[in-house]
């Protein structure tokens, strides 16, 4: 597609407690159908969205984390986690349910600068 743009979705909030994470995922899945260059960024509490072993029964909320594993089927393969946010929360690369690339805050800034469209949730 000649007019393909670089779309970045920035996820900054914990998966539950607000609807931002779920509704962000919904846009990501739609944008993949438009053949755009899509990347996802996880920073702040957003890093928890990719945490393995999510259990939501106790809060009577749908556990939508398996959907992140389906991203690959939609050719959404560029997932980035901010190193500082990950470390501040005591997480390591092994804690995530999908393969991710860890970038420093400075590297993340550079990547954002290269995007055409940045949507933050």
């Amino acid at each position: 597609m000649s007019d393909a743009k670089k779309f970045m979705f920035v996820n900054r909030k914990a998966p539950y407690g607000t609807i931002y994470a779920l509704e962000s995922l919904e846009v990501v899945l739609i944008s993949a159908a438009f053949d755009q260059d899509v990347s996802l960024v996880f920073l702040d509490d957003g890093v928890y969205q990719l945490k393995k072993g999510q259990q939501t029964k106790g809060i009577e909320t749908k556990n939508f984390s398996p959907a992140y594993r389906a991203l690959e089927d939609y050719d959404v393969e560029k997932l980035y986690v901010e190193k500082e946010a990950m470390e501040a929360r005591g997480l390591t690369e092994e804690d995530f349910l999908v393969p991710i690339t860890v970038l420093s805050r400075a590297e993340m800034g550079k990547l954002m600068d290269e995007q055409d469209v940045v949507l933050s949730f």
């Binding site: 779309f7 509704e23 739609i30 944008s31 438009f34 755009q36 055409d116």
Partner: protein, 119 residues
């Protein structure tokens, strides 16, 4: 310049919709085009025709509708987010239309800038 605007918060609770409206108005006054405003998350509540603010306050819903009518702006409400929150055709204010998230992605593709308002 061709602008797309995303509103992610409901009216009255949050500054986002007011800021988006004032941004759109200012952009148009400066000769830019606002091509589409996309309402997502609680932003879909900006499109409820049941909204009745006190008379001495701004009417956020009608204000969007008028700006859109005067300047041919496409006001799109996300269907999935809307249905979750009880916004349907039957209580949709004039000037708005319900459609899918593809309209948001399309705005990102077609506009020179996509500007988001909300947390």
């Amino acid at each position: 310049m061709k602008f797309g605007i995303v509103v992610n918060e409901g009216p009255y609770q949050h500054q986002a919709s007011d800021s988006a409206y004032l941004f759109a108005k200012a952009a148009i006054e400066k000769g830019h085009e606002v091509w589409r405003v996309f309402f997502y998350h609680d932003g879909v509540n900006n499109a409820s025709k049941l909204t009745e603010p006190p008379q001495d306050d701004r009417h956020i819903v009608n204000r969007w509708a008028k700006l859109a009518e005067d300047n041919k702006i496409d006001l799109v409400v996300c269907v999935a987010a809307a249905l979750r929150r009880g916004i349907k055709e039957e209580n949709l204010a004039q000037g708005f239309r319900i459609s899918g998230l593809g309209q948001l992605v399309e705005a990102g593709i077609k506009c020179d800038r996509l500007v988001t308002f909300g947390d």
